[in-house]
C-alpha cells in the first residue's frame, strides 16, 4: 500500500496537509482553526461554541439558507466541534465537490456574516445543548472530570455555562472571530481522491491572502478539586477517574498508548474482563487516552447501579494501580493485531483520515504515514511499556462521581 502524503505551508502560516487515497470516490476535509474552549473568557464560557454556531448562519455572498442549500446540493456531509484549543469544521462528499465545498468554508472562516437577527435563535440553541447534557449523565460526569483534572482553562466543556451563554453579545462574537479565526495556526487536512496541484492552488486562491493575527496561548491556571461527588437522582452512579499521561508529541506517547490499550483495547482487555466479564458490575467501562498539546491524561469511565458502585470503583482503581506492575507480551501482541488492522482499514474511508492528518500536524508539525505508525508499533515491546509504567505509575487520581450517594476512595490510593 503506497500512500501519497502532501503538505504545503502558505505565506500566511496556513498549513494544507493531504493524503491521496486513489481507490476512493470521495474526499473529506477538516479545518482546525484556533479558538477553542480554553480561549473563552471566564465570564463568557461557551464563546467559542457560540461563535461557531453563528459562523454557520451565513457567510460571504450566502445568507444562512443559501449556505445550507449550496452545501446540501453538493452533498457535503458536515460536522463542527469545539475542543480545548480549536474550532473544527469538517465535511465529506463525492470527490468532484471537494473544491466548491472548500470555497464555501473559506467564507465561513474569513467572512461570516454573524447576522444580528440570528443571535437570539443561536443563543436558544446553545442553551438547549447545555440542558441536553444534564439528561446524559455519562457525558456529564466525564465533562466534570476533565474540567477538574486539567489546570484552568483546559478541560472546559465547549457548551460553556448558563451565565456565559446568557451574557454573550454580538460584539463578543465579532471580537472572538477577529482574534482567533486566522491563518497562522489553521490547519486544513484533506484525504481521499484529489489532484494535489489543483487543490494547493485552489486553497491558495481562497485563503492565501488571509491576514495574519498575532496571538499567544492562554496561561495555565490552577487545578480544580480532585475529589468530588455530584448528587444526582438516578438509577446508576457514574464514575470518572483521570490520571496524568504524556502528550501526543512526547517520545513516550506510544508506550502510554500501549498501556491504555492493555487496560481497555478490545473485549479481552483488563477493565472489560475484570469489571464486566468476571463480576458483571457494569455494562459500560473503558479507559481512553486524551491529549492536549502540552499534557495528556488517561480518562476512565464506569457506570453502575448505586449499590454496586463502591465495588466498581474499588475494582477499577485496583486495576489502574496494578498496571504499574507491567504488561504481558501476549497482551501487547493483541494490541499490535488491532492497530495493524485499524491502520489498513483507515485507508477505506476518507472521513476519519482528514481529521487525523490535521491533528497530527498540530501536535507534531508534520503528519505521520500509516507505514510510519506501523513501524513504530512494531518497535513496541512488553518490556518498553512496563519500563514506562514503572517510571510513570498510574496514581494521583482525580475522581468524580455522579449519582445518589458518594463513594469512599480507598486510603491506599492517593
Amino acid at each position: 500500500m503506497t500512500q501519497a502524503l502532501f503538505s504545503h505551508t502558505y505565506g500566511n502560516g496556513l498549513v494544507l496537509v493531504a493524503e491521496r487515497i486513489a481507490a476512493l470516490e470521495s474526499a473529506a476535509f477538516t479545518f482546525l482553526t484556533p479558538g477553542g474552549a480554553s480561549d473563552d473568557p471566564d465570564d463568557l464560557a461557551g464563546l467559542a461554541g457560540f461563535t461557531c454556531e453563528m459562523a454557520l448562519r451565513g457567510a460571504g455572498d450566502r445568507d444562512s439558507r443559501r449556505f445550507v442549500d449550496d452545501l446540501d446540493n453538493l452533498g457535503v456531509e458536515r460536522g463542527e466541534s469545539v475542543s480545548d484549543a480549536h474550532t473544527s469544521y469538517s465535511g465529506a462528499s463525492l470527490a468532484a465537490n471537494l473544491l466548491p465545498a472548500l470555497s464555501i468554508y473559506a467564507d465561513v472562516l474569513r467572512r461570516p456574516r454573524l447576522p444580528p437577527d440570528e443571535l437570539e435563535p443561536a443563543r436558544l440553541l446553545m442553551q438547549q445543548e447545555l440542558r441536553g447534557v444534564e439528561d446524559e449523565p455519562s457525558q456529564k460526569v466525564m465533562q466534570e472530570l476533565r474540567r477538574r483534572h486539567y489546570p484552568h482553562p483546559w478541560g472546559r466543556p465547549s457548551q460553556g455555562d448558563a451565565a456565559g451563554i446568557a451574557g454573550i453579545g454580538l460584539a463578543d462574537i465579532q471580537a472572538a472571530h477577529a482574534r482567533h479565526y486566522r491563518p497562522n495556526g489553521t490547519i486544513l487536512g484533506v484525504a481521499g481522491r484529489f489532484e494535489w496541484e489543483r487543490l494547493k492552488d485552489h486553497v491558495a486562491a481562497a485563503l492565501g491572502d488571509w491576514s495574519v493575527v498575532e496571538s499567544s496561548p492562554p496561561p495555565d491556571g490552577v487545578r480544580g478539586t480532585r475529589r468530588e461527588h455530584l448528587p444526582h437522582e438516578s438509577n446508576q452512579t457514574q464514575i470518572g477517574i483521570a490520571y496524568d499521561s504524556v502528550p501526543y508529541r512526547h517520545p513516550d506517547y506510544l508506550q502510554a498508548w500501549g498501556a491504555v490499550g492493555v487496560l481497555s483495547g478490545g473485549m479481552s482487555a483488563r477493565l472489560f474482563t475484570e469489571v464486566r466479564e468476571k463480576r458483571g458490575l457494569c455494562y459500560s467501562v473503558y479507559a481512553s487516552y486524551h491529549t492536549l498539546r502540552d499534557r495528556g491524561a488517561i480518562v476512565t469511565y464506569a457506570g453502575t447501579s448505586a449499590e454496586r458502585a463502591q465495588e466498581t470503583l474499588d475494582v477499577t482503581l485496583a486495576e489502574l494501580v496494578k498496571l504499574a506492575e507491567g504488561v504481558r507480551p501476549e497482551e501487547l501482541d493483541r494490541l499490535k493485531a488491532r492497530i495493524k488492522s485499524a491502520l489498513i482499514m483507515q485507508q477505506e474511508s476518507s472521513s476519519s483520515r482528514s481529521g487525523t492528518l490535521a491533528r497530527d500536524w498540530y501536535h507534531l508539525g508534520r503528519a505521520r504515514t500509516l507505514e510510519e505508525v506501523g513501524a513504530m508499533v512494531d518497535g513496541l515491546t512488553a518490556k518498553s511499556i512496563s519500563d514506562y509504567l514503572a517510571a510513570h505509575p498510574p496514581g494521583d487520581f482525580t475522581i468524580v462521581t455522579l449519582g445518589p450517594q458518594a463513594l469512599e476512595v480507598p486510603l491506599a490510593v492517593s
Binding site: 438516578s234 438509577n235 488492522s341
Partner: protein, 411 residues
C-alpha cells in the same frame, strides 16, 4: 464487484458481495430472530441471548472468545433489533477462515447457568443506564401504543422485571427454536474468497440439525394516541411520534425516504428551518424505518419543556402542508444529492456494505448493488412523493412525550 450465493444442505445460506479492490473483509451471521419473535414470558430474551453467545462454547471459555477475536485484530460486535440478531467482524482478509470459524462456534453456545447469572447483571445495568437517559421509556411506549398487540410493538431490551425473572431453560428453548440453520445467513462483503467461505461454513455449520422455525408475518394494524410520561428530573422534554409508512417489501419505501429527507433531515429540511434554525428546539427530525409487514415514520423532538405543545403544533402544521401541497422539484433534487452522497460514503467500507447486503438478503431475498440503490433514489418523482404521502399520511400518528411536563395539551 460480484454477488455469489450458496445454500448448505441444512438450509444455512452463504451470500457475499466480493470486491477484489477492498483492503478488508467484513462478515457476519444474520439470524432471523428478534423482539418480534418473543412472547411475554421471555421478553428481552433475544438481546440477552446475544450477550450470552460471547460467554463460551463447549470448546471455548468466554475469555477464549474475547481473546481470539482480539488476536485477529478484529473489529467485532453484535446487535439485536425487532427482527434480527447479527454477529459480525471486520478483519484483514487473511483472517477470513478463522473468523468464520470463531463466529460460527459462538452460534452454538454452552449457555452455562453461572455465566447466565453474571451476564443477567450486565443486562440489568444496561437497562438501568437507559432508564437514566431520556427519552428512553418513550420509545418503548410509543411503539407499544402504535402497534397495539402486533409483535413489532415489543421492546428489544425487555424490562427489569422480565429480564430478572427469565430462567436459563426458557432461553435454551428459545435458542433451539430460533437458531436453526434455515434461519441463519452467513453474509460477507469486501475482499472475500467465496469458495473458501463456503468450505469454512460447511466445516463449521454443516452438521447443525435443520428445524422448522417459521415467523408469521401479519400486516400491522396501527392505532393512534397521545400520552405524556412525567419524569421530574429531566432537563428537556422529548416527544416521539410514529406514523405508518411503507414496509420493507414495499417499492414506495424509496419515495418515503426521499420525502423524509426533505421534511425532516437533520439539516436543511423543513423541520430544521422551522424549529432548529429558529432555536425553538434542540432537535427535530423525521426518519423512515421499514420492517417486514410494517413501516414507520418516526418524528423526534427535544426542546425546553415550556414550548413543547407549540412545537408539536408547528410539526403538525408542516406535515399538513406537505400532505396538501407536496414538495418542490428543488427540494427533491437537493434530497437526492444528499442521499446519493451518503450512500456512496457509507458504502466505502466493507463494514457498511455488510449490513446492506445482509439486510436485503435476509429481509427480501434480494441483492442490490450500490448502483441499484442510487438508481432507485434517482427514479423518485414528485408524483411518487405525493402518492406515498396520500397513502401514508404523516398527520395520523401516535405520540408519547417524556420529560418534566405532567401533561401536554395540543388543543
Amino acid at each position: 464487484m460480484q454477488f455469489l450465493k450458496h445454500r448448505l444442505a441444512n438450509g444455512l445460506e452463504v451470500v457475499a458481495e466480493c470486491n477484489a479492490e477492498a483492503h478488508s473483509t467484513a462478515l457476519g451471521y444474520f439470524v432471523n430472530t428478534g423482539a418480534r419473535d418473543e412472547t411475554d414470558d421471555v421478553a428481552g430474551v433475544s438481546h440477552f441471548l446475544e450477550h450470552m453467545l460471547f460467554k463460551g462454547t463447549p470448546r471455548r471459555t468466554a475469555e477464549d472468545v474475547n481473546r481470539e477475536f482480539d488476536e485477529m485484530g478484529a473489529h467485532y460486535n453484535a446487535f439485536t433489533s425487532e427482527e434480527n440478531t447479527v454477529y459480525y467482524a471486520a478483519v484483514l482478509p487473511e483472517y477470513q477462515d478463522r473468523s468464520v470459524e470463531l463466529l460460527g462456534d459462538i452460534l452454538r453456545p454452552s449457555l452455562r447457568p453461572e455465566d447466565f447469572d453474571t451476564e443477567k447483571q450486565v443486562i440489568l445495568e444496561e437497562i438501568r443506564m437507559y432508564l437514566d437517559q431520556p427519552p428512553y421509556g418513550a420509545d418503548e411506549r410509543v411503539k407499544a401504543l402504535h402497534f397495539g398487540g402486533h409483535p413489532l410493538g415489543r421492546s428489544v431490551l425487555g424490562t427489569m422485571e422480565s429480564v430478572a425473572a427469565l430462567p436459563v431453560d426458557a432461553m435454551r428453548g428459545y435458542f433451539e427454536r430460533r437458531y436453526a440453520p434455515g434461519n441463519i445467513a452467513l453474509v460477507a462483503a469486501g475482499r472475500v474468497d467465496f469458495d473458501a467461505l463456503v468450505k469454512a461454513a460447511e466445516r463449521q455449520c454443516g452438521d447443525w440439525q435443520p428445524l422448522e422455525s417459521p415467523r408469521p408475518i401479519e400486516r400491522a394494524q396501527s392505532r393512534t394516541g397521545f400520552e405524556c410520561l412525567a419524569r421530574a428530573n429531566s432537563a428537556q422534554e422529548y416527544a416521539l411520534q410514529l406514523a405508518d409508512g411503507p414496509a420493507t417489501e414495499d417499492d414506495d419505501r424509496y419515495a418515503a425516504k426521499v420525502m423524509a429527507t426533505i421534511v425532516g433531515d437533520d439539516s436543511g429540511s423543513r423541520l430544521y428551518w422551522a424549529l432548529i434554525d429558529s432555536g425553538l428546539a434542540e432537535s427535530a427530525s423525521l426518519g423512515h424505518y421499514d420492517y417486514l409487514g410494517a413501516g414507520l415514520y418516526m418524528t423526534y423532538l427535544s426542546c425546553e419543556p415550556e414550548p413543547t405543545a407549540d412545537n408539536l403544533r408547528a410539526v403538525l402544521e408542516i406535515y399538513r402542508q406537505v400532505e396538501d401541497r407536496g414538495v418542490t422539484q428543488a427540494e427533491l433534487d437537493q434530497a437526492k444529492s444528499k442521499i446519493n452522497s451518503r450512500v456512496v460514503l457509507g458504502s466505502e467500507r466493507p463494514r457498511g456494505r455488510l449490513f446492506n447486503v445482509g439486510g436485503n438478503w435476509t429481509q427480501r431475498r434480494e441483492y442490490r448493488s450500490v448502483r441499484d440503490d442510487l438508481n432507485a433514489v434517482e427514479a423518485v418523482k414528485l408524483a411518487d412523493v405525493a402518492a406515498v404521502l396520500a397513502k401514508y399520511p404523516l398527520t395520523r400518528s401516535t405520540t408519547v412525550c417524556v420529560g418534566p411536563l405532567a401533561e401536554v395539551k395540543l388543543t
